[in-house]
Amino acid sequence: MDWNLFTSTTIYASVLALLSLGITLIYMTTKVFNFAHPRLSLVAAYAAATLMAYYAEATGAQPNLTPKESFLGSLTVPFSWEFYAIGILVSMVFGVIAALVEYYAILKPLQKRGADYLMLMIATLAYDFLLVATLFIYNTHVDVRKVLARIGVLSTKMSMASYDVTVVTGGGVFISGSFIFSVILILLLGISLYLLLFKTTLGVKMRASVENPPLAEVLGINVERVYAISWIISGLTAGLAGFLMLMAAGAGNLKPISATSPADEIVVSAFAGSIIGGVNSIFGSIAGGLLIGYVELYIPNWLAIWTGNAELFKYSKVISMLAVAITLLFAPEGLAGLLKGEKWKKLFGKKEEEG
């Protein structure tokens, strides 16, 4: 098996899983497809990179690329562990901030004024543009460029892949820190979401608020607080996705980050993950995101080998788009719906009710 393909695909699939989860959470609570969601990750990535760079500057750290022998193999840790920890924390914080600004400054006020799904969707577009503009200006700022150069990152093509923690085992297998981080993250995410939703009171309140908000309100549940928490979780996952993108740009379908990409390329794949998993299912979105990630990279790979035509690899996103079309037309509840064994025509029923 091609180990490299597997690890880079896993990282990409994890990013998609995180993004799809965020999109689904917002769709379930605020009932809108948040076009700006992938851009939140980008904001988080830029913030993380900047603060990591400032940390390096403050502590006078230099990247140390000489491998040390450990029980795992030859381990390369270019910067201190605190350095990476800062990146993770900062990305989560900024993801949350960007998400909450979107909710409280734009979406919630519009909802109060009775905006319909179309207006809300377009509002998320507008917020996306604002974020793009901000990042555009930010990444050409003279001081920012200087600081980022400190950690060897070009502000216009942010990628810290060369400073990722890496291990080369005795058997010659190359494992990147991002890969391990992705795997652990997704596992932890799944477990903690399960515990949260099914084993805590808050989880019960969240599920009730999504199922029937007015009734939940009547039962003394503060539905608005549930929505706020959903946005926070959405921001957290967006931030983590941003950190992963920063560290692993170049893995799978992740191109080096700039203000306008890969958020642009990844948007449709993230939405595909959300829809295929089932747009009203949290675990569906994680599964959907992972699935799309693997499908996008493995299927063209197999096709290319089978037909001998390497060009086919470039059409990977077309597969996701076809998957979205087929899902929406024939199984609108996605994987979650299929697993429940019911192919609801809920799609039509829902839209007609909202008339």
Binding site: A115, A325, F348
Partner: protein
């Protein structure tokens, strides 16, 4: 800065965006189909010009290039940049061929755009609301990626694309005449769209948008209505794509998948314009296109350096050039947000259809009563 060139760019910008937005208006504003994949129909126009029309030009110029017509046609893909450079030198000397190319482009775009719209109407029959919006967006993105890499469609280099044939070269002043051409197109579209809006068909489209069940109850074929809206609106989008390809804006360079399928410029901006102008309002689409072009984008592009200097951007450490690009994004975003909050119905909100006036009704009743008495 050449004033004439600038004016041509701004006017063609307005014309292109008006036609594009009018097309979206028919689909989304009037009929309620949330088409977030509008860009792909626009791209059809670009492909028609860069692929189909270029081949016609190549075949016509073949003899002067010492190749057979068939070879020339093939070289449009295999050897685009060099071939088209030579073709574009020859084309200005062939006025009749140039005019044929222009006409063929318009007709082919309308037909192919309409055809693609017809195809796209099938999901529109089965899906609604935000699901349909995402579906059409996904279709547009998928088509974009496909076109980017499928060489027979958009050439060998995804970033360069296909060079546009210099069909207005024969006039001696391509910039001026292509702008006039775009204006004429925009005017024709305006007349058509206005008549459509006030016609029974227009009312039917809006009826289907507002209350599908009632429209169906009085025997209207909902599916046909939505299909027609998609065909018309998409054909108009393709027309805008042709206008763009010939416009002084790209000044005869190339159309590439990344530019003509760009969802920000050709889907989201028309949506912003439609909302600003007022959903379903054709006059609103025209008004907002003028506002965007003449008052916003135009001045930004002209004065970007002055604006950057006035805001002391450089002293803040920001690169003025990038600032101008960012400014366009900020502007459109601010526009959308302000409109959504302050005037969500747009500048020209939709009013109930004009029906016959009370006096006319009374006069008719009196007339009938008199005739009966007689």
């Amino acid at each position: 800065m050449n004033v004439e060139v600038l004016l041509e760019e701004i006017i063609s910008f307005i014309g292109i965006y008006y036609i594009l937005t009018a097309g979206l208006n028919v689909k989304a504003g009037m009929t309620g189909i949330p088409d977030f994949g509008h860009a792909m129909f626009f791209a059809v126009g670009g492909i028609v010009v860069g692929n189909l029309s270029a081949r016609i030009a190549a075949a016509a110029a073949a003899s002067q290039l010492n190749v057979s017509a068939w070879q020339a046609v093939k070289m449009v893909i295999s050897n685009n940049t060099e071939l088209m450079a030579r073709v574009n030198e020859i084309l200005p000397h062939m006025p009749r061929v140039s005019i044929v190319i222009i006409l063929v482009s318009v007709i082919a775009a309308l037909v192919l755009g309409g055809l693609l719209g017809w195809l796209a109407s099938y999901p529109a029959l089965r899906l609604r609301g935000d699901y349909l919006a995402i579906m059409l967006l996904a279709a547009s993105e998928g088509t974009r990626i496909f076109a980017m890499y499928y060489k027979p469609l958009m050439g060998k280099t995804p970033t360069v694309g296909l060079t546009v044939p210099n069909a207005f070269g024969f006039t001696g002043n391509a910039g001026l005449w292509s702008t006039i051409f775009i204006l004429i197109l925009a005017l024709l579209v305006y007349i058509y769209a206005e008549r459509l809006h006030h016609s029974p068909s227009g009312r039917l489209f809006r009826a289907v948008r507002d209350d599908e069940a009632s429209a169906e109850a009085i025997g209207k074929d909902i599916a046909k209505v939505r299909r027609d809206a998609m065909i018309i609106g998409s054909a108009l989008a393709a027309l805008a794509g042709v206008a763009y390809s010939f416009s002084p804006w790209i000044a005869g360079s190339s159309v590439a998948a990344i530019s003509i399928f760009d969802r920000v410029l050709w889907t989201f901006w028309p949506w912003a314009l439609m909302i600003l102008g007022g959903m379903s309002s054709n006059k609103g689409a025209a008004l907002s296109s003028v506002i965007l072009g003449a008052l916003l984008i135009g001045p930004i592009r002209i004065y970007k350096n002055d604006i950057a200097a006035a805001l002391h951007v450089e002293s803040l450490g920001i690169d003025p050039g990038n600032f101008a690009n960012a400014l366009e994004y900020i502007l459109v975003a601010a526009l959308i947000i302000i409109v959504l909050f302050v005037k969500p119905k747009g500048l020209i909100p939709e009013y109930p259809s004009r029906t016959v006036s009370r006096d006319e009704v009374k006069a008719t009743i009196d007339k009938i009563a008199r005739e009966k008495a007689a």
